[in-house]
Symmetry: C2
């Protein structure tokens, strides 16, 4: 029979991401398109021990639990915020989700009606743009400079569109890896407060900050992480952990511990968390209590050291970033431009003039390599001229070969013109 | 600040379910309102062993996996269908979800635009009604008799509304526990085919069938289950596992193995599974590969016996059903009516004339007991006169005390009138 889909699904169904992913399953295929952490750094052994303890505690861990998420894990998150970022956050204002993607979907379903204008730091994550398009939002891109979103531009758009929401990723945005300055953070928060626009702050990559060159080498992992949080406070922390009512914060363990645990969270003003909680029940009842208990066991009752783990991850990712930056200096890549990120998992590369990233992808796939075409990460024309390269997942050899193959493809295009 | 929610969220936020659940956390509280399986029957020990093996296999199990779900588990499901229900189903036409609730949410988001008419077997699960209301569907209830949905009524509504979807639960509906006759199943499927209406068949409770009195006692668990599938084929099986394109089938391990694994599935025509797959990625990227591997390990590489497990579950639930039926014979309950289900987890009870289930709940909560008020499970006035009682979760003592407390509350109302 013929099926008639809802009106807004058409664009979504045409996404090329599935095509990339199906290619990526071929054994020899190299994908720099994914949003994958390095699996060789997962704490597998400690999780196995944690699983032993969780299952050993009886069947409760396998039953439905609190739909808002396992309370001790929410309390742990609140404690972590207080200790490391100096802000108090009641566990009741935290909702555990399957990841940041689900948190984005829930807040958008909660607040956005068809044709509602929503401001978006541009470029932004493909997942965020898909959710907004599915909900029928009018997506309004906001321009940035090297310090972050540009206040004047943001304010003009707020006045013009009176949006309900502004999506921002001040710390290591997907795809750009950009980091807003401290001054800019406060300025933007003040503007949002003045114009009564809720900020949705996606901090999924916020823990992946690499050591600065001028940083003292003897700092402890905990000290490093605290220092970073002081230098670049999240908008949520500036808003006193949501007490100002201005920021909904989104975080995740999927990039820092392991995606298989499917655990992220939203934190913020009580009415929003309540609403997302109600929506989460209709979306999937609740996330896995079992997985949340596993995480809690790992974080608090095992030899696992959270801050040491982050420091290890960041050291390794920093090395991988150095490698991809080295590769970007090779001749194939001479006509591209990019900013060097100091955290996250991606480099956002501007292609040589006139080269379209979708066409480039089409030529690269048969060579056995993929990247994320910029159009999926951006509103407007900027996307077509950019590609997103992931450096966290591919091993050294893969990165080397993948970058060669993409570079070669670029040179084939530029040689022609 | 003031938050302005999307227009359709208001009704959802007023749901009394959270209130019931918060009460249920009080230690001495007895809830017959929940949709919980019996946790003392979870295969905890075998899952612990499976976890040991899964984590031991390396970090792959903790990485993002296939968004449509772990292939071997989908292939296992396909094999199970072929072996037990005699129908072939390509694993590519199965999407693993977090549970049946997510499958319902995805198909509704995929197909339903605001004000689209959707036919619903009435009463139906609270979760299904919430999803439809959130999507802005025009929910049209369809009446049933003791054999299932009434063909004439269904056809008249199909002609009048030309709906895209019809939600049905032919086997042990939540809340009624009703079971459609074999003839009625074919008749309804033929009607849907004739009028080109897609059936969404929620079979979440379909494995929970209790032994019939006339059944031969020496039948093996596998034989029992096969015999049941022959006597009461799912609409999906009658439609040749979706090859007819007429049925989207929804199933779940959450009620039969453990909800903490958060694994259910949708199976059906390729265009629908493709669309739900795309939507699932924007909803939460994917369900947990780790949990899916755990299940696969349990089902195929451990001492766990799936059909023996189901037989054990059904024997125990059948005993619990007998108990609640005994309790319903007590004097407090003399003015209620109900059908005796032969499977599932609920009894749907019609209250004495004039007694409103929401008022009854209000009076019952302070006594430390809850049930599901019928209005959450039904469209129209039928809900107010009914309550749903869960018999799978409470232990013997709890069921006894809970039923006494509810009965006492009923008698306080009826004594007054």
């Amino acid at each position: 029979m013929q099926y008639s889909f809802a009106s807004r699904t058409a664009a979504m169904l045409a996404s090329p991401v599935r095509h990339i992913r199906e290619n990526a399953r071929r054994h020899s295929f190299i994908s720099l398109a994914e949003e994958l952490p390095a699996q060789e750094l997962f704490p597998v052994k400690l999780l196995e021990e944690a699983a032993h303890d969780v299952f050993g505690s009886g069947p409760d861990a396998l039953q439905y639990g609190e739909p808002e998420g396992y309370f001790p894990l929410r309390a742990w998150l609140a404690g972590e915020w207080e200790q490391r970022k100096g802000v108090r956050l009641p566990p009741g204002q935290i909702l555990l989700t399957t990841g940041s993607q689900q948190a984005i979907d829930l807040i958008v379903r909660l607040m956005v009606d068809e044709r509602d204008p929503v401001l978006v730091e541009n470029p932004t994550s493909p997942g965020c743009l898909q959710v907004l398009s599915m909900q029928g939002a009018q997506v309004v891109p906001v321009e940035s400079d090297e310090e972050g979103v540009i206040p004047d531009k943001l304010e003009a758009l707020m006045i013009r569109y009176r949006p309900k929401l502004f999506f921002a990723t001040p710390t290591f945005a997907n795809p750009t890896g950009s980091l807003w300055s401290a001054a800019r953070r406060q300025e933007i928060l003040d503007l949002c407060r003045h114009h009564q626009v809720l900020v949705v702050e996606d901090d999924s990559y916020g823990e992946l900050h690499f050591k600065q060159k001028n940083e003292s080498p003897d700092k402890s992992p905990h000290g490093q992480s605290r220092k970073f949080a002081e230098a670049y406070p999240s908008l949520f922390a500036l808003d006193h952990a949501g007490q100002g009512g201005q920021v909904l914060y989104i975080g995740s363990f999927n990039k820092t511990i392991a995606p298989g645990l499917r655990t992220g969270w939203a934190a913020g003003p009580a009415p929003l968390i309540e609403g997302m909680y109600a929506l989460k029940q209709l979306a999937d009842m609740q996330s896995s209590t079992m997985n949340q208990r596993l995480l809690f066991q790992l974080l608090t009752r095992s030899r696992f050291q959270w801050h040491e783990h982050l420091a290890m991850l960041n050291k390794e990712y920093s090395t991988r970033l150095q490698l991809i930056l080295e590769l970007l200096k090779r001749p194939f890549w001479k006509d591209v431009t990019y900013h060097i990120p100091s955290g996250g998992m991606y480099v956002w590369v501007r292609l040589p003039d006139g080269l379209d990233s979708a066409l480039l992808l089409k030529a690269a796939l048969p060579k056995g390599v993929a990247f994320m075409p910029g159009a999926l990460c951006a509103v407007g024309s900027e996307g077509a001229s950019h590609i997103r390269l992931n450096f966290s997942h591919p091993g050294r050899e893969q990165l080397l070969m993948g970058m060669n193959l993409i570079g070669e493809t670029i040179s084939e295009f530029t040689a022609r013109s």
